[in-house]
Symmetry: D2
Subunit: 492 residues, 4 copies
């Protein structure tokens, strides 16, 4: 399997589906499963899409795709492929996507779904023409809707839950926008949707705003993206975050702001603040580098360790480590380094070579940590295997003490809204006490940021947004009904 | 567009759809649109599929695909790609298709459909699990069925008419085989179908047997193919041709022979005999090299030209040319030669270079034809542009006379059963007299094999099969209702 | 190894050398080892080169290359790669080869040399600038010259003997043309050379004209090629064959006809007539289709078998089979067929599959040969393994008798002039009598064309060229000194 | 040209040379031109080579290569290609490089040399067998040696100066090691050499140790690398830096420490400390992250700016920025961010898109810098164009003041030892005063670290190594004779 993934860029010639294909989880990090990007009313929209998706690449490295519409003619084109944006698109494919309206997608996939057929935007032909859908997130009740649709004779091309929204729209006898509203009301979950027809772009965020989605302006048109970094890359001006339950309709009459659900409680995914979103992005007006630095500062206030240096696990925990260092005065040092060239085609060292000391992606810097007491900042502990490996790297490089500080509370509960988490029983924090985890990861100390500390760090001085996070992975308080027995299939 | 085609093998990384993409029809030959191959009950079925599809490659060079089922577990896998069988599959992808049941497909596409999404086997998920469909042929009433399905809320992933059969099956409340029978009864056209589920293989031929489909045995299992050459390549023993209106069901209970339609009139496509099928294949027991040689002999009897040599347009008319030569005693010579290395990635010479004399795929052999009176045998004249070009090649190489003999009657009417023919008004024989065509192609003489001569040549000494051909392209007598105003979309 | 070759088009990213790499000789045919093509004085010369090399592709499928010079500036560029001409070059690479002077090369390689470094044209930098060399053939005394050069401190980049000519030229203190003449005089063997500098093109054929080389005219410039088919493809007019010992110099002063050796005895390779050259090419004014047809006719006169049909082993023996059929009146039939799509990336069937009956490239046509007495025409028998396999294919398909006729005398002696032949002890005709060979290949009869018959067939009615062939592989009479103990390394 | 670079990974099928090909220097950073890695006496040496070269990838992204020897048999193999280590090598190519001795290379190329032929290790065949050479650095007197060799009849395959060392060795009549010593004595410059024959590995550093080269031990064998990070990645234990003028000979008798030149003055390239080497590497015992942090601290002491935040230009100046922040107490913030996915195939935005605000690799983080006074730390200013662009990015993102601090003295003089620097007249610091540069880059302030401050920062508390740097780019004091009129061709 690891072979399969490694060989993808070389052998990929088509569309492959093999239920048995898994993924070698080298480092058991959580993974965001998608990023979306949309353009309405800007010439050569797919070029903006290229740069916008490229800026969102960290949200999905496995497949990339765009669908485009020329609004004057309704002409619809698309291109999708396995790989990074820069691998899937070249000048020729961009030229094959004319028009001023585009939706695009980058995607990770979970085990068993490494196939082009699931690459988004999904495209369909229905009664009124073409339909393209790009999603970030997950529909909790997709399996039951799918079962209902199948019992009515629907056939599905993908294993993606996103396909149900297209069926729901196509089966409605109402006009397109009303049908889409009905469909959005039926589905439960956390999602950001971009839906494009031959003459319209629909933009929707679930009723709790679980997945981030922002709006920008450029050249008299509109740009939508999972993160503000994509607006910045495109030269677009940030307008606002799309609101929970909102439905934006863009067509030849311009932008119409509507909603399919009343706003009850904002619940933006906490892991976006902690780990997923790029540090230069802002969510709900909060810059993530700054928020993460504040998490490090809060950690320093809650848990000071008398150490010689602070180091962060790259890349996500550098900001927090600097915050910890600034707060404590302990110097920030480069104790761990990641090889930036490692990627999909990289041949992982064999077990034999790893035992001989051959490093993979991450190394400890011997000259920096040798003989030193180290505070190591990381963002989360999932299974604990990665943390153990990193602590051991530091010890093998000569660190005399390793104190691990985590910028979030213990991760105890699976996500049903689009984050690829293991089963609850594999989540170490749901099975073990903090002291047991400390032993399991071979650390001298282990500290998780407190619930309150985390909320304050995100909110900064301004308390307004605190109530606005989904913290279910920490406190089991899911903003929607979830079926804990159901498979956590992902829409994107 | 020629760019697109040229770049396919290099640039192809995914799934692209552009309505505007056409094809540069270098030589205006008719093109078969598909070949199908199926295996039931033989271990490592996909390896047989690989060799079987390879043997059918001439029926479709644009995309290749296979779906496989492991009958013990029902495990379903597939792989499809743009390109030749040998390009789409390698050892690794074959290993990813375990099981003893396989259906496979090779495909040409018409303009505007050069996309992976249309590559077959089409695969669907429906109420009862997985469904894969591979087709050769065309469903005449697919547009109206599709419209009806869309009005009921169906969404389509492809522009292929094959998708309607899956919808019809999925929407039925009957058991799978009954649903398939109902669906086959509803559709009108010429087709060979292979339909696979997690535990069954269905094999069906339209009510007139328009498209060839044969059954073979191997190692206690069954092999199905568009042509016998694929059986031979696989080492399978030929059993019989699948009969018009027949439905074969293969599952753990073995082979069940059923039919969905009464046999009325056999009407196998005449162009299979004339041009499409490989000369080493047999259709309805008739070997095609032999049949084509007899066409040449009949031509010789009907139209003797006093010439120095006979030559055939490669590759399809070599057999007939030898037949003409044997019958007349005029020596067969290699007056025309085709470069076998020319293929999809070949850069076609620019207009400027062509005017300077740079040849494309086909050349005349100067030393052979110079100063000679030539009888040139070809299988058909479609638009006439290719014939003109070939006659001119011979003249430029010094031929003093060029007498053109065609192994079939004038091609006057479009095909609605899976052959990619131009509109009627582009068919030169429907617009011009034979004398006018002769002038248009710059020949000294032009003779088309007579209707009777053609039928006798195919049938050999045995008249049984004569009544069994669809000759609609010559005599306008279509075996099914057709809608001459409808778009001739192809199912495969 | 077969892996290596199969994977070439996918995995090839660079320059690889592995002494141990061999080749799986599926059919033990002799292989020509190169084709050369040159242009002088024609704008956009590399486009002509593309079509010219494409026409010579049968002479070498493993690597392709061109070097170009812009004669006004002396600007020198080149591009080489593993693969067919259409794979190695695309529009972009052609645009990177500006100029009106080009030399190009297609190449097979022998075991152990499957590497890009040996791809030609070889390019060097020396005292006076750039030097590019493309060769077809072999230098018999290259090993000793190389040893001498190495002892004087020369270093070599390739295992190709062609490199010695560049060293000899560079080490001379004379002017370039004189140095080249000296170098050509020192080397012994059979070769066609194209040598290009920043302002000159040199064209040379060995003193016996062992390897074919022709000159054509086009648009006021000159074209040189291994075979006339490449002239025809380019629209060039044939002027004459380059003469043995001739040295043509093309530069801003036009064409100068010189020679480096007196013409003693013409000895063009007989296998070019029999097998290597394309049937539409002419060598020394003799068309090869016609010559091969005459070989078949001669065979018929020397050895008539009372059979039901004649068939030829495709592709090389079709012409001879037709000749045999015309002479005897026995019908020519398509008893054997080759799959034209089989190529480098094709996965050869495993031994297990082959035993089950899965065919490779070649099949017998059951319907044609079943119950028939067959005369099978082939061009040569090397090890005998292929002949055995083909005879068995015919028998398994039901042939009742198989009479094998070979269009040349027994192949008993290895070639030292650029044909990849096995060691003498592996040549079945040097080890066994005709009767023993007949038994070894499981034929009912076996007949080799007589020495005289062969010479007459090539010469046609005109005896002039008869004395002009190298028949050493049949009669051991090598036109140059050869060292039978030396490794038969190939220059190209 | 940017086209060429973009298309490399897709179109690269072979070996291309075009004098006119340049490189679009998006950011005018200096570039190291090579990294070398060698293994002696460790089984499966090429696997170590893979990970070692991967760790050195930052020293050269354009081509990668390895040559291997099986010491028991002397069997020699190699593989080279355009692209990253992970792109050039896969499991199959590694398996084709058996043996316990390997030399490897990663390479940048300068304009006009983007060709596979120049990829290293260069390989030759000479009197005694195979010879492979991998170099980092430059031979100052290569042009004159080359001219001399050419006048004696030598021919060259590459434009790389490395080839002269092979000629010098091959032309000597002494034994191999003596010949190599003679050759090393003749050449002048800055270089690290790995030279491999069928039974020996030679390791040499120029007389001033200009280019870094370290020795490690692993499993009873030896590892050599341009930087210690490669030892760490391989699990090898650092032994020592190779000394200036040293020649290490490894063969079946083990390691012999020799020298070809007396040690006069150590002069390690200052830019290695400032910019090239990875922060986790140590040179002459000094960790580079720590050294760069000290440069930031020194800057803070020399030039304090009253600002709201400190930011570093990623990736090289992060360490220094943290040092500046720690020293001053001004917070370190993420003011600039680099997209880590940008690479060779990335389509650079058109001028039109750039004017619209589309960002390339680097963005300023609006939320962080808006309304803030920024200290921006960078490592050097070459032409000034990049600095201007980054300052403007910060201003456009709302920075109110931008104070630029450079961690090295003004870069005034070109490098002759392997760094790709522009001509002196393009070096802004050699043409303008600091105040003029400040204006040119649109900064509010500009400060270059003092000569003394830089030396102290590198040396830390320990003065021993101060005298050991080549500071010629700052002070024009070249450790060897250089010819300022000569072309600065690079050996690697």
């Amino acid at each position: 399997m690891s072979d399969e993934i490694k060989q993808l860029p070389k052998l990929w010639t088509g569309d492959h589906y093999n239920e048995g294909i898994g993924r070698d989880d080298i480092f058991d990090k959580l993974r965001e499963e998608c990023g979306v990007f949309g353009v309405y009313g800007i010439p050569d929209a797919c070029s903006l899409g290229y740069y916008g998706l490229h800026a969102l690449q960290h949200r999905g490295e496995e497949s990339s795709g765009m669908a485009a519409v020329e609004s004057t003619t309704g002409k619809f084109t698309y291109h999708r492929g396995m790989g990074l944006v820069k691998e899937v698109f070249d000048q020729a494919t961009l030229e094959g996507l004319p028009g001023n309206c585009v939706i695009g997608h980058v995607r990770y996939s979970t085990a068993g779904e490494s196939k082009l057929a699931n690459a988004q935007p999904l495209v369909f032909k229905y009664r009124d023409g073409d339909l393209a859908v790009a999603t970030n997130g997950n529909i909790v009740n997709a399996p039951s809707i799918r079962k209902e649709l199948e019992s009515q004779g629907s056939i599905f091309q993908t294993t993606s839950d996103t396909e149900v929204i297209a069926h729901l729209i196509a089966r409605s006898s109402k006009d397109f926008v009303s049908a889409a509203k009905d469909a959005l009301q039926r589905i439960i979950g956390g999602f950001a949707f971009l839906i494009m027809t031959n003459d319209k772009l629909l933009v929707a965020s679930d009723g709790h705003g679980l997945r981030p989605l922002v709006m920008g302006k450029l050249d008299g048109g509109y740009v939508f993206a999972s993160e503000t970094c994509a607006l910045e890359t495109c030269g677009a001006e940030y307008v606002r975050d799309v609101q929970p339950g909102e439905l934006l309709v863009l067509d030849k009459n311009g932008l119409r702001e509507d909603r399919f659900e009343k706003l009850e409680r904002r619940a933006t995914c906490a892991m976006e603040y902690i780990y997923f979103a790029r540090p230069d992005s802002d969510i709900n007006g909060i810059n993530l580098h700054s928020a993460r630095k504040r998490m490090g500062q809060k950690l320093a206030l809650e848990a000071f360790f008398d150490a010689d240096l602070v180091t962060g696990v790259p890349d996500s925990s550098i900001s927090a480590a600097i915050g910890y260092a600034e707060q404590t005065g302990i110097p920030y040092e480069l104790g761990l380094i990641k090889n930036k060239y490692t990627g999909r085609t990289f041949i992982q060292p064999s077990q034999e070579l790893r035992e001989k000391g051959v490093k993979m992606k991450l190394s400890a810097v011997r000259k920096v940590v040798e003989g030193k007491r180290v505070v190591m900042i990381d963002d989360s502990i999932v299974r604990g295997t990665t943390s153990l490996r990193i602590v051991n790297l530091l010890r093998e490089a000569g660190a005399t003490e390793v104190h691990v500080c985590i910028t979030s509370p213990p991760f105890k509960n699976p996500c049903y809204y689009g984050i690829d988490t293991p089963d609850r029983k594999e989540l170490i924090a749901s099975q073990k006490t903090v002291e047991e985890i400390r032993q399991a990861i071979n650390a001298d100390s282990l500290y998780f940021l407190s619930h309150e500390g985390f909320i304050e760090a995100v909110g900064g001085n301004d308390g307004e947004y605190n109530r606005g996070m989904c913290l279910a992975c920490f406190d089991n308080d899911y903003p929607t009904p979830v079926d804990p027995t159901s498979e956590k299939s992902c829409s994107c």
